[in-house]
């Protein structure tokens, strides 16, 4: 007897590394995350250590990215801010996923819920992201949690829409019918048969939402409706550097570059994942 050879589909991780843009995107965002995670080890100064003598110093060997108006080290602050920016982005994404998937599944499965949910989704998507976020933060009162909740709510409809549309397709497929014929309870059909087949599109969308949410957080902070200005996020840093543009450009340039790098790399990852998981493109692998 021949030995049983189990040949599963090539592992996703291996496939991911074979795609150049995807690999680059992943490398950059992971590096940024690593810097943020290891901030206490990497940052030469405490993020809030004041040094009035050294205020508004340009980048140098001592202060890689220069200092701000209170003499705080921009390099250390950028790294520490990454912690918050990434956390807000990630938390908002998770929150958006929870709401979006729940609503999408409910709408896709229950006709009555669908009428209501579909309207709400449409209505929310008619608002510009930032306006809706500002309104929500204003209504809830600005704080870190509020920003996360607001961004989660703002981006949930995107996911809900995708999940709903796919659910409507999948629920009609014979394997779902087979499960119904077996008497499998609805909630298990939702999770085992529907949700499990939606992992790829959700993952792709979540990556994009991560990027959008980070960008939105920065915008909110820049506009002064986000997290409190004392907490260093890339957005608050740019906001405070705004008054010194032309005089101390490094105050805005470095956190700006950090935002661009993370958003760009996340977009690359999202695009790469989408190509990778698209069965039509996958065939030729």
């Amino acid at each position: 007897m021949a030995a049983v050879s189990i040949t599963p589909a090539p592992r996703l991780t291996t496939l991911m590394l074979q795609r150049k843009t995807l690999a680059i995107g992943l490398a950059v965002i992971l590096a940024i995350a690593l810097f943020a995670l290891l901030a206490p080890l990497i940052a030469p100064y405490a993020p809030n250590k004041l040094s009035i003598v050294n205020r508004l110093k340009p980048p140098s060997g001592t202060y890689f990215f220069g200092t701000d108006e209170f003499g705080r080290d921009i390099f250390s602050r950028t790294i520490y801010a990454g912690r918050l920016s990434l956390t807000v982005g990630a938390a908002a994404t998770v929150f958006a996923c929870v709401i979006g998937i729940t609503l999408g599944l409910a709408a896709g499965f229950f006709r009555r819920a669908d009428a209501v949910i579909a309207r709400i989704i449409d209505a929310m998507m008619a608002f510009p992201d930032i306006l809706l976020a500002i309104a929500l933060v204003a209504a809830l009162g600005p704080s870190l949690t509020t920003v996360i909740v607001a961004l989660g709510i703002v981006y949930a409809p995107r996911l809900a829409r995708i999940v709903r549309a796919s659910t409507l397709v999948i629920r009609e497929l014979p394997y779902v019918e087979a499960a119904r014929a077996l008497g499998v309870p609805t909630w298990r059909i939702m999770t085992r048969h529907v949700l499990r087949n939606l992992v790829s599109p959700i993952l792709v969308q979540a990556t994009f939402i991560f990027a959008y949410a980070m960008l939105a957080e920065a915008s909110l902070s820049f506009l002064g409706v986000g997290v409190s200005p004392e907490i260093p996020t890339w957005g608050t840093m740019i906001a405070s550097g705004r008054q010194y543009v032309g005089q101390a450009d490094w105050m805005t340039i470095f956190p700006g570059v950090a935002i661009i790098l993370s958003v760009l790399s996340l977009q690359l990852v999202g695009d790469g994942l989408r190509d990778l998981l698209d069965p039509r493109l996958r065939k030729d692998l």
Partner: protein, 335 residues
Amino acid sequence: MSQSPSPAGGDVLLSVRNLSKRFHTASGPVKAVEDVSFDVGRGRIVGIVGESGSGKTTAGRCILRLVEPSEGEAVFDGVDLFKLPERALRAYRRRMQIIFQDPYSSLNPRMRVGDIIGEAIDTHGLAKGAARQARIADLLTRVGLSPEHARRYPHEFSGGQRQRIGIARALAVEPELIVADEPVSALDVSVQAQVLNLIQELQKELGLTMLFISHDLTVVEYLCDDIVVLYLGRILEQGPSREVYANPRHPYTKALLSTAPIPDPTVRRERVILQGDIPSPLDPPSGCVFRTRCPFAIEACARAVPPHESVSPGHSVACIRQAELATPATQKVTA
């Protein structure tokens, strides 16, 4: 009702009475199935034959309550399935199962074969742990696969093998009735024969009762004990299949049998080629639904839906002119 049920002896496992299903679509109501009645004897294979729009698939789905019927009853072993509340229906789901046409979309691509079959076992709490594994292995062996296949994913199998997995899933709950919806239509001829053999073996071995939905008249003639001919949602003719094939009485059945391609160039048949298209189920003809394509239609056909008349034991026809039109359709001339 006027329809004569046709269990050719023996006891009836499933009795469908006046089944109707209307769908409400944007362009109006569609009568997918209209006043369909037939019996399925225990241990028999009943073929449901029809072209597109005939309602054969919908009828099968209604009986399993995968689609909610609009009217009628389906008495399964003494209980009307259509009246059962969802919870009570769960217990009956174990007794009737379905096999699908498309071997690709009928298996969840993200589940291992063992989990696909295991889900059936778990849902009804039939076995746990080692007993569950043994049962999965046994089912796989039974359908001609090997127990090791349990660890693989559907995409690693060919169409015929996937169809076997679908059959194993249906058998996992030890059903009495199986609705097989075009189970071999998507398969290559050589694989089709393998699966037909498997279906027969299992049917005999397990004493299964089957509703075999198909558009392939050759396969139905070979496999089925009884046949029900549907057209635009209505039954036009039904009876024991040998009787119906040898002596079709409805003009539609005759046309269908005379044009079904037979792999023998020496068979010379009087082909009845029907004119025109199958009407839209959105706007079916009045009276006899077949009259617009029927070569023998007369004015009276438009007036009322023809009643089913019994022409021999278990064989009934819904045609007001059936008595005048009795002629054999196929004659073999050997060159």
